[in-house]
Symmetry: C2
Subunit: 343 residues, 2 copies
DNA sequence: CTGAAAGCGCTTACAG
DNA sequence: CTGAAAGCGCTTACAG
């Protein structure tokens, strides 16, 4: 049942040509005559020849494969990024191999070890939440395997990075609340151990400062993982204040959604009483009522850009470039949670 | 900067042993003395030897790699399945390479072609929505590359399959509505070209028949993709009836969510006036208000089972087994959309 | 324009 | 318990 596979040699014997010529003909090498190329290609088709890519990778030391390490693939942000990576990679003849660190430094190190085995030409990484030092990735620099980091990126060494400007985005989000007339603005913050959430908090504060509004420390609520349940707890805390905030910038959409739901249940009107802005433009932001104003974090584009940058580094190594850092443009999507719809 | 990699030969020279012995020692071959093993392993560690997995794959014809073809990875169901696959694969020393068919038959065929190049030891597939005939996958049988299909599986040939019982699940969901006292029950159906949605409709009808309830053809609304927007349209259609249904079984959660939202906007109380059941247990089902009663479709487990079955077929080929079909147990998760919470 | 030959880095059947 | 040798299926520098 199981057929032996056709190899270059089989084709060569069949056509009375050398394996070299077959190889070149299939590779559309300029030195081969058109007649021969056609003959070879027809025969290859006829016998159902599929080149053994492992043999080819072995010989050329190129696998046309990209490794991706993400915390979890079932987080929508990451699945969108991966989708962007796969899209760009596919168009350029690369395939993508995926690993989940599960936000465990230990597992991230194991994966880094595995990936040193020549399986991939380059690596795209979003660091695990536990990762503070990136020594386990420095090896790849020495091996000449390019890396691109996105979202959670290393701070302890120069690296190729694709990020958004969290500070600016948070500033824009907060400014939007201010322009809508909010004066007493709260923030639900992510872990301050993570740079991106720190930057969002900073951007929030900077906007208040620019517009000479007071920073109410007690309205800045800290969460660990910006989870939906944590958002519920934050919302309840706000409700205990003698005076509610009139605007809240949430560091992600999940917490924004829970605030909306808890507030509405308590008769707080959104956006009339409190305006809410989220961050990420998750699918739920379009479904929750009122629809959520949020920052579009360009996840798909982040994937595309990561793949593009990585493949460029794989294919033409420019000895003079040590690392590149690319910042993507985010945008504020204004919806009902900060603005009455004119429906 | 870029170091030459250490090979078996380097180790051999360093230790005055043959490459054969090094290879066996690292592989923990029983014929090698413990002393030698230790010596070799220490040296390998010292020099930072990483075996070239491409060379090894080339030699053994095993890549320890699984190919996955999904319609899109940014659909939550698929990202959960992939997560389950990656998890099981990782534990068993396999890695996973992902391709998106984008629900295009043409692209699916291209990918099938690519995967014939020896890159993977086996393949897990969810067919594109356009796929009716699976000839492009039959090649893998001949090549001895095992395949496992999940969710959308082939009907035109025997294959390894992991599915849920859509008929039974739909039956259970509908029966639940009936037991809650619903008598005039509607259904929002997916494309009847797709077996799983056909089975859900059949299960729905079977439950009504068993309990001797009328099947109101006009309350069975057909959609193309079970999208959120399509759900909105269906909901509006229901509202135009002189008499509303008192229960609706939706073939997925998106349409269920839109029905809930549209109905509530029109003052229809859920579950008092109309009880709603969805299908899939998407994250939104826990967030929408009221929370959605739905069928847990075991996406993660489906991934695990697919990987498990595939790896079994890769590692011990049993000549007597032609194909296996595994049906996973789903369960109904009862929430507020069919039952008043006792809070 | 085509071919002969070497070699990529492993693994393994065979020999001792 | 260890080694010599062959070979997996390609690619490519060299020769003609």
């Amino acid at each position: 049942m199981k057929n032996r596979r056709i190899t270059l040699k089989d084709l060569a014997k069949d056509l009375n040509l050398s394996a070299s010529t077959i190889s070149r003909a299939l590779d559309n090498h300029p030195a081969i005559s058109d007649a021969t190329k056609k003959k070879v290609q027809r025969k290859a088709e006829e016998l159902g020849f599929i080149p053994n890519s492992i043999a080819s990778s072995f010989r050329t030391k190129k696998t046309k494969s990209i490794g991706i390490i993400v915390p979890r693939i079932d987080i929508h942000f990451h699945s969108l990024v991966i989708s962007g990576i796969e899209d760009f990679a596919y168009k350029n003849g690369y395939n993508v191999t995926i690993f989940q660190s599960k936000d465990s430094l230990k597992r991230e190190k194991e994966i880094a070890k595995i990936l040193q085995n020549r399986m991939v030409d380059g690596i795209i990484i979003c660091l695990s939440i536990e990762t503070e030092k990136c020594d386990h990735f420095k090896k790849f620099d020495k091996l000449g395997v390019p890396m691109v980091f996105y979202d959670r990126v290393p701070t302890d060494f120069d690296a190729n990075k694709i990020v958004i400007n969290d500070f600016e985005s948070a500033f824009t989000a907060t400014e939007h609340l201010i322009k809508k007339g909010c004066k007493r603005i709260g923030h639900i913050a992510g872990s301050q151990k993570t740079d991106i959430f720190k930057a969002r908090l900073e951007g929030f504060k900077a906007a208040l400062q620019k517009y000479k509004l007071p920073i109410h420390q007690d309205l800045i609520l800290q969460t660990k993982h910006l989870g939906y349940e944590e958002g519920v707890i934050c919302a309840k805390k706000y409700l205990e204040f003698s005076e509610l905030p009139d605007g809240i910038f949430c560091a992600n959409d999940y917490t924004a959604v829970s605030v909306i739901q808890v507030f509405r249940k308590h008769g707080v009107k959104i956006p009339q009483d409190v305006a809410i802005v989220g961050f990420s433009n998750y699918p739920i932001s379009k479904i929750i009522e009122p629809n959520l104003t949020t920052i579009n974090d360009c996840a798909f584009q982040m994937g595309e850009s990561s793949a593009k940058l990585l493949i460029r580094h794989i294919e033409d190594k420019d000895e003079f470039i040590n690392s590149e850092s690319i910042t993507l443009r985010t945008n504020l999507i204004i919806r009902e949670s900060t603005q009455l719809s004119n429906a």
